[in-house]
């Protein structure tokens, strides 16, 4: 199976063949089954994928067909993708928890003829929508429990398909030769995969990615993060998400590292600990949950353990990041940190499964600076990146040594970024970028500029001096103050929400002279403070209106203003006036969406008298609002809410707007 050195590795099947030849005995996949980690080498995977492809071909799969992949991260589903690609078919991974309606739309839109699914649950789900997916003919499944009595005319266990392929391959060399021809016939321009994005508005769009571009993108980042075939990842993110396909599938094949699949979704955390991956990705939410769990566990621990934990976490907070960044640190701090590492950080990282992590990324939403530096201070190389499905993930990433909580880093190698004048929208051109939305020329045209740039839909700016990109908000949500300066409500809101005392923020300012905010205090955090400081309060309303609480919040607002003043694009959008709302914003009252996002427009209308007070200079205002109690009864809350002025800071940079 020796390949000529000049062969172009421009498709994933060719990379698989290369890996089997170059590092055939290295472990390629692991999967915990029946409580034991099973593993497969690259050579074994290549053999299985070949047999699988032959079996699929026998079932009628041909070049250009679409194959739906539905289920959790299991080796056989990854191999289904590989086998489909060997034949030049296009895998279409689908979110396995998608509701039937969404699933039916995607499967039909993608014109899938085959589906490789995990188990009975997915088979049933597909069967339930089969009327709406007329092209779907054949279903393959990984795990047969409960499927024994199903009609198997068009339903096959993956195991059996592979076995059949093996049998055919053993019949003679022709079958294998034909398969090699299929692999050789693939080119970098072939469609490699279609990833459907779960659109926030409207139907999902099928992002078409080609093999050559995908591999080019992955090659760049493998070099960027020094990944090699000695690395190992745990694949626990949804198969249909670009993150999993990029980080695990594409980088795995390019770098030749091992992909471990958890036993089940519920065991991922325990499996993480057993595998000890060297490269790790998680959205901020996961890091936050882990931290909360650690903190709760520590509260239950004995007092000695607890005190030790808090002491060394404080040490880490003070010195950890500096040590990680290679800054000057006094010897005593180094010693103390070393002891802390022995007693707390190393065991903690081990418990979380992060002992061997060399590089970890987070992305998807803004990460709180406290949270970010907590993990970094433990000595974990956690970095941020910014990207999207259309880019095949990366647009920017933080290189080692230039890591900060408040930026997403500079453009990754070979990526070009420009900021559109006026809107502040971020546009990019990247090696991995998509070739268009499947069967949707209109949307493609909207997203791609004539000169080949892709619109992200996010507004951002480059930080002066460092060239780091800062994302401020969705471009459509960014508006302007009366002066014409950028007003990014979410950016300001997030800044404030990083303070534990603040639960929710609503910023106003579109077309106005200046920026104002509503603030919701966090009852747990502020209530805790009140208890510690003997502040007596009878209700949420009373606590929210307490003068001391106002001074705490004023300090937070001032601090945010000071930060904003250092950012040229944002300096004009400092918060001039604010108030603390007398009630918590509530989804039952329509003020939040069910996913706990503020409905800014609705809140503005509902509290119109308060918004008026923010802008007309009055020091307090009366408001009465109808509320819905938990038992469904309705009532009216009336209150007099105080309005406070915040401190404004002069813009510290004179270079003007970056955009």
């Amino acid at each position: 199976m020796a390949q000529s050195a000049t062969e172009k590795l421009d498709t994933f099947p060719k990379l698989l063949r290369r890996n089997a030849a170059v590092r055939g005995s290295n472990t390629a996949f692991r999967h915990k089954d029946l409580g034991i980690w099973q593993s497969w080498t690259w050579a074994e995977v290549y053999e299985i994928v070949r047999a699988y492809a032959v079996g699929m071909k026998a079932l009628g799969l041909v070049r250009g067909d679409k194959v739906a992949i539905v289920g959790a991260n299991r080796p056989k589903l990854y191999w289904s993708m590989m086998a489909a690609q060997v034949l030049g078919a296009v895998p279409v991974p689908v979110y396995s928890d998608a509701i039937a309606d969404e699933l039916a739309y995607v499967l039909d839109h993608a014109e899938v003829r085959f589906a490789a699914v995990q188990d009975q649950e997915q088979v049933d789900k597909l069967l339930s929508v089969s009327e709406r997916v007329p092209r779907l003919k054949t279903m393959l499944y990984d795990w047969g429990r409960g499927l024994r009595d199903y009609d198997h005319t068009h339903l096959h266990p993956i195991e059996a398909v592979i076995a059949q392929g093996r049998a055919r391959l053993s019949e003679g060399p022709d079958v294998g030769a034909a398969l090699d021809a299929e692999i050789d016939g693939g080119t970098g321009d072939d469609l490699s995969i279609i990833l459907y994005t779960s659109g926030t508005t409207g139907r999902s769009k099928g992002v078409m990615l080609t093999a050559g571009r995908s591999i080019a993108a992955a090659t760049d980042t493998v070099a960027f993060d020094h990944l090699s075939d000695r690395d190992e990842v745990l694949a626990y993110l949804p198969l249909a998400w670009v993150g999993d396909h990029y980080l695990n599938f594409a980088q795995g094949l390019v770098a030749g590292f091992c992909t471990a699949c958890p036993e089940s979704a519920d065991t991922a955390q325990a499996d993480l600990k057993e595998i000890g991956p060297t490269f790790y990705f998680a959205p901020p939410r996961v890091f936050e949950n882990l931290l909360t769990r650690v903190m709760i566990r520590m509260e239950d621990a004995g007092s000695l353990k607890r005190r030790m934990f808090h002491h060394y976490i404080a040490v880490a907070k003070q010195w950890g990041e500096k040590i990680l960044n290679g800054q000057e640190v006094p010897l005593s701090a180094r010693l103390s940190y070393g002891l802390g590492n022995l007693l707390v950080y190393a065991p903690l990282k081990n418990a979380l499964g992060f002992s061997k992590v060399r590089t970890a990324y987070t992305a998807g939403e803004a990460i709180g600076p406290e949270l970010f530096s907590f993990y970094r201070s433990l000595g974990m190389n956690l970095k941020q990146l910014y990207g999207q499905t259309e880019a095949f993930l990366y647009v920017t990433a933080q290189p080692d040594g230039q890591i900060r909580a408040d930026t997403v880093g500079p453009a990754t190698p070979n990526v070009e970024i420009r900021i559109e004048d006026g809107t502040g929208e971020v546009l990019y051109k990247s090696p991995g970028q998509f070739i268009g939305y499947f069967k949707d020329a209109e949307k493609t045209a909207e997203t791609m500029t004539p000169d080949g740039f892709v619109r992200t839909g996010d507004a951002g700016f480059f930080e002066v001096g460092t060239g780091h990109l800062k994302i401020i908000d969705r471009a459509k949500d960014v508006s302007k103050l009366k002066s014409g300066d950028l007003f990014a409500p979410k950016y300001i809101e997030n800044r404030l929400k990083f303070y534990p005392n603040i639960k929710e923020v609503v910023a106003f300012g579109q077309g106005e002279e200046f920026v104002t905010v509503f603030i919701n205090i966090d009852l747990t955090a502020v209530g805790n403070w009140a208890e510690r400081n003997n502040v007596v309060y009878g209700s949420y309303q009373e606590l929210a209106g307490h003068p001391d609480v106002y001074s705490i919040i004023t300090a937070h607002v001032d601090a945010v203003n000071a930060q904003l003043a250092t950012e040229p694009a944002m300096a004009a959008a400092q918060i001039r006036r604010f108030l603390i709302l007398h009630k918590e914003l509530d989804a039952d009252d329509g003020e939040l969406t069910r996913t706990q996002k503020v409905r800014r427009g609705f809140v503005g209308e509902r509290y119109a008298p308060l918004v008026k007070a923010l802008y007309d200079g009055s020091s307090e205002a009366d408001i009465s609002t109808e509320v819905t109690f938990e038992d469904g009864r309705k009532g009216v809350i009336s209150a007099r809410v105080k309005v406070k002025d915040a401190t404004l800071f002069p813009a510290t940079s004179t270079t003007g707007k970056a955009a």
Binding site: K32, L34, G35, G146, D149, Y150, H152, H154, E263, A270
Partner: protein, 270 residues
């Protein structure tokens, strides 16, 4: 377009071989008659439901079958052998496993250890080998562990493998208890209100597990359940008890239409 559908097997069972036969069984506690003169049979491979209002003697019936109680009158024939006083451990070794209305688990042990106890009867290696924990005993332990892992996989409880069961929520405890019964690879599985105290989702899962056990391993199942929807969906045949007497017996459709059953469930005075 695909046409795949699960098939029902109830037609075949009606003519099937009798696994357990209850003949004129009566059970008294002092002067109170818990069961009077009840007869029915359980056929190989079926899901047999025992239903009835509270205090109808359903659990007492299960207790008679697995040897917790000895009926004063009547006989129980199992696998063609008429049993005299059977003790619980003898019933267990003859292939009868059960779960309880209020879960009876080993709360201090992990899920894995709990399910492992289901294999105790199958462990044959001698005492000495076990003490040495070596050679055949170790091989045997590994084989049993594999069976247990299959059960864990089957019930999708990998995540709680090492958790002490006392810490698990009720729904999962019931699942672990089913797992322990399954680990014994029983021929007859007695389930006492397997879905009591569960939410809708847990009930659906449990239904699926029960059906899968029945279809995949061919295990005969006798179950007590209050949720009529569940009973009618799951079972091949239903026997209805009231005040310790049998008032109806047949397929779910037949039983549903029976006037005496309707009266019993609506509480019509006799």
């Amino acid at each position: 377009m695909l046409h795949v559908s699960p098939q029902s097997t109830s037609a075949a069972i009606a003519k099937g071989e009798v696994l357990l036969n209850v003949e004129n069984v009566s059970l008294r506690f002092g002067g109170v008659k818990a069961i009077s003169d009840v007869s029915f049979d359980i056929r190989k491979g079926e899901v047999r439901a025992i239903i009835g209002p509270n205090g109808a003697g359903k659990t007492s019936m299960l207790n008679c079958i697995n040897g917790f109680y000895f009926p004063q009158e009547g006989h129980i024939t199992y696998k063609g052998v008429r049993r005299q006083k059977v003790r619980p451990h003898e019933a267990a070794s003859s292939g009868i496993a059960r779960t309880f209305q209020n879960v009876a688990l080993f709360k201090g042990m992990s899920t894995l250890d709990n399910i492992m106890t289901g294999r105790l009867l199958k462990m044959k290696r001698g005492f000495l080998w076990q003490c040495l924990h070596w050679g055949p005993a170790q091989a045997e332990e590994i084989a049993h562990r594999e069976t247990v892992e299959r059960v864990i996989d089957f019930l999708e409880i990998q995540a709680i493998r090492k958790t002490p069961v006392g810490r698990l929520p009720y729904g999962l405890q019931k699942r672990v208890e089913l797992g322990r019964a399954l680990a014994a690879e029983p021929e007859l599985l007695l389930l006492d209100e397997p879905m009591a105290g569960m939410n809708l989702e847990e009930k659906e899962d449990m239904c699926r597990f029960i059906l899968d056990v029945n279809q995949q391993f061919g295990t005969t199942i006798a179950l007590i359940e209050h949720d009529m929807g569940v009973v009618m969906d799951l079972s091949d045949r239903v026997v209805v008890l009231e005040y310790g007497r049998k008032i109806a017996d047949g397929t779910p459709d037949v039983v549903k239409a029976d006037q005496k059953v309707i009266d019993a469930y609506l509480g019509v005075a006799h």
